[in-house]
């Protein structure tokens, strides 16, 4: 095996198919997208080179700015839930409580259900007349808090953030739990003997040693929130009146509804830039000496 892997041509042979797929379905479309963003085109034969005009227009576009703001709200909300809540849950389950495997499965289950089904489910949960949320609020005497959750410009984004929190907290909990399980148990034994409390063990052992995992998880959370599409498309289609518009839904409507594929490609490029920028920022924040005991 070492003899095979030491030869570059065999390495290339093994890596080749996956790289080819990435090239055909990833890199080339991205480059083509960048190229299209320099044109005003409906891809029906009517194409004009406009250079950076699409980008200038984009920054003047109030709906683009609103979409970016909404995406950032999703990033913050998701990060709070999936970092803090997932970390809390994974830490609890790491303590080997009874039924921890069952809880892992239960928390993870929403993340394997397709986004469309989740969207439809929560449309019913948030229904103004017979939805669970309003039903519960009325049952506990909080009629004044009843809202038309997905049709109210003020509540639609928080309502959708709750859904993404619920959907993916288990997914990130499992990632973080896996990271925790890689930590040598001897460290915890030694800490216990030295009289360290659970909190001290978490802050001095678990958290520092999990940083590489948390870095990857942060990238997943942030880029996932930036690329969010299916939940918004199924529940509100970006409404009411662009209140829940996100970059991907705006990109879709500009392309497939308005036939402004050049402009749509510009939005896609900005999304790519935001994802790369977020990844670089996360790398910077998590850079520093690796903790080793």
């Amino acid at each position: 095996m070492d003899k095979i892997l030491s030869k570059k041509k065999y390495i290339a042979l093994f890596v080749g198919p996956a790289f080819l797929m990435y090239l055909l379905f990833g890199l080339i479309p991205i480059l083509y997208n960048l190229y299209l963003s320099l044109f005003k085109t409906n891809l029906l034969g009517d194409s004009t080179f406009v250079g950076l005009k699409n980008y200038i227009h984009l920054f003047q576009d109030q709906f683009f700015r609103q979409a970016v703001a909404n995406n950032l709200k999703f990033v913050l909300g998701s990060y709070a839930a999936h970092m803090l809540l997932a970390l809390l849950l994974s830490n609890i389950l790491f303590q080997k409580i009874k039924g921890s495997r069952l809880f892992q499965s239960v928390y993870f289950m929403p993340s394997v259900i397709c986004g469309t089904a989740i969207g439809m489910l929560w449309t019913f949960i948030y229904h103004p007349d017979f939805g669970l949320v309003n039903g519960f609020l009325k049952a506990v005497g909080l009629e004044s808090s009843v809202r038309i959750w997905l049709a109210d410009e003020k509540t639609v984004i928080p309502a959708l953030i709750v859904v993404t929190m619920w959907q993916f907290v288990g997914y990130h909990m499992v990632i973080q739990l896996a990271g925790m399980k890689n930590i040598d148990a001897v460290l915890y034994e030694a800490a216990s003997i030295d009289g360290a409390s659970r909190w001290q063990q978490f802050t001095r052992i678990t958290f520092p040693l999990m940083k590489p995992i948390l870095k990857i998880d942060s990238v997943l959370i942030v880029t996932g929130s930036l690329k969010l599409y299916d939940l918004v498309a199924v529940t509100t289609s970006g409404g009411p009146n662009h209140a829940s518009e996100v970059l991907s839904t705006y990109m879709f409507t500009q392309g497939f509804k308005a036939l402004k594929f050049g402009y749509s490609s510009t939005i896609a490029t900005m999304l790519l830039v935001l994802c790369i920028g977020a990844t670089l920022i996360i790398n910077l924040v998590f850079s520093g000496k690796k903790t080793d005991y």
């Binding site: 029906l44 103004p128 009411p240």
Partner: protein, 452 residues
């Protein structure tokens, strides 16, 4: 051992689910592809006339339909069966049906790849303009002008919204207006007469509201629903002139007449015309509110007639009237659109056969089936025996004659961006936002779009 059995059971369940999903993809569901009368796929050689020993042409056809519009789907399927049985052009039609929003994406995608089906469903005006300008849609003018019998079937004005540079690019099957369906029993129980003026209409709203009945069913989850109402109100407030002015660019969206219309919509909201949660109700729920007899009135396009009748379990308690105009002089201005438009792709290799199928769709037999089974309004001047149609459709046909000046829905006229924004601000106005601010914002957006 237990784990192995559990894993096996889960695996079997997954396999069954996957097989079931595949099965539903093949079934005639509203969200999938349904094939009727699938013919053998021969070469796409041009084959005209019977008796020639050439491979049969398969004409592909795609449209909005399926289980959500089963009655209409059945009518077109019957036409396809007739066409295929005749086989006059050595061609067979193969039908594909899609859900409404899915279809728009599909059409746009196929058009950009120059791979659209031979015959395809479309909407009029701004929706199809880009496709026409790109040269991907075949002009039907030559065929229509050469066949006076075919051309003569149609009502006046049905081709206006699908004519570009004097060429006709699509043929409609039907027309639609947007009347107000009303519950005759609830009107009788509350001593309300069918309103003929705006004041009478608002009084009716008040009466029903006081009686604890939802006066007007409205479901605003889809922005085009309040947009449709706002457009209808604008016709009654300012006439066809306002619509023509905005189309030709003679006026702007912040025209005081539009602001006045927005205020009319808010007047209805303030009067409690709509259900409490109307901003969050889905389209089907809006209809259900009426058919379950919780709402007295339901303003909606005539494409919904068969669904309304089915929901009510019959025609006994359904009446229709046209929304009274705010200004009586504009009583004949209402939304009237052409429906079920079909066009032929420029790359169709058997255009003669394709046009023959389009002609069949306006054939009196097919049109009669369309009117009777779907409760639709025909785009043709077919004189149908009223005893054959349901009473509601018969009333609608009479109302159609009262619509002398037609307004085209904004998202069809102005396209997805500006037209879509008109619908969005209608929703915002219905939600309480200031009408002047909203129309000013719409004008600003329209200017930005025009620059781009």
């Amino acid at each position: 051992m237990k784990r192995k059995i559990l894993a096996l059971l889960l695996g079997v369940a997954m396999a069954v689910t996957a097989a079931g999903c595949k099965g539903s993809d093949d079934a005639a569901a509203g969200t999938g592809k349904a094939t009727a009368d699938a013919a053998e796929k021969g070469n796409d050689a041009d084959a005209t006339g019977a008796g020639e020993d050439k491979p049969e042409t398969v004409l592909t056809f795609m449209a909005v339909g399926g289980s959500n519009e089963q009655a209409f789907t059945d009518v077109v399927t019957a036409a396809a069966d007739l066409f295929n049985a005749g086989n006059d052009f050595n061609a067979k039609i193969e039908l594909e049906w899609y859900e409404n929003e899915q279809y728009k994406t599909k059409l746009a995608t196929l058009m950009t790849q120059n791979d659209v089906t031979d015959i395809f469903f479309t909407w009029e005006a701004g929706f199809m303009e880009d496709y026409v300008n790109s040269g991907k849609v075949y002009s039907l003018s030559e065929g229509l002008n050469a066949d006076s019998e075919w051309m003569g079937r149609f009502n006046d004005g049905v081709f206006d919204a699908v004519t570009f540079d004097s060429q006709i690019y699509a043929v409609p099957m039907g027309q639609a207006i947007v009347p107000v369906y009303y519950n005759t029993q609830m009107f009788m129980d509350n001593n309300v007469e069918v309103p003929t003026t705006w004041e009478e209409f608002m009084n009716a709203v008040k009466t029903f509201k006081d009686a604890g009945v939802v006066p007007v069913s409205m479901a605003c989850q889809d922005a085009w629903v309040p947009g449709q109402l706002l457009l209808e109100l604008s016709g009654g407030a300012a006439g066809k002139e306002l619509f023509d002015d905005i189309v030709t660019g003679k006026t702007t969206w912040d025209d005081p007449r539009y602001v006045e219309t927005g205020e009319l919509l808010q007047e209805m909201v303030t009067a409690g015309a709509f259900p409490e949660s109307f901003l969050g109700l889905a389209y089907d729920e809006g209809r259900s509110l009426f058919t379950s007899q919780k709402a007295a009135m339901y303003p909606m396009g005539t494409w919904d007639t068969s669904a309304v009748i089915e929901g009510m379990g019959g025609t006994d308690h359904i009446g229709v009237f046209l929304l009274p105009a705010k200004n009586p002089e504009y009583g004949d201005v209402h939304i009237a659109s052409v429906e079920k438009l079909f066009a032929v792709s420029e790359k169709c290799e058997n255009k003669e056969a394709a046009m023959a199928f389009l002609k069949l769709l306006s054939d009196p037999k097919i049109q009669e089936k369309y009117i009777v089974d779907c409760g639709a309004l025909s785009a043709t001047n077919l004189q149908i025996d009223e005893s054959k149609v349901d009473p509601v459709t018969a009333q609608i046909m009479k109302l159609q004659g009262q619509v002398k000046k037609a307004l085209t829905p904004m998202d069809r006229q102005f396209g997805a961006n500006v037209g879509g924004e008109f619908n969005n601000i209608s929703l915002a106005i219905a939600g309480g936002k200031d009408a002047k601010e909203q129309f000013t914002a719409l004008q600003k957006y329209a200017e930005q779009e025009a620059e781009q």
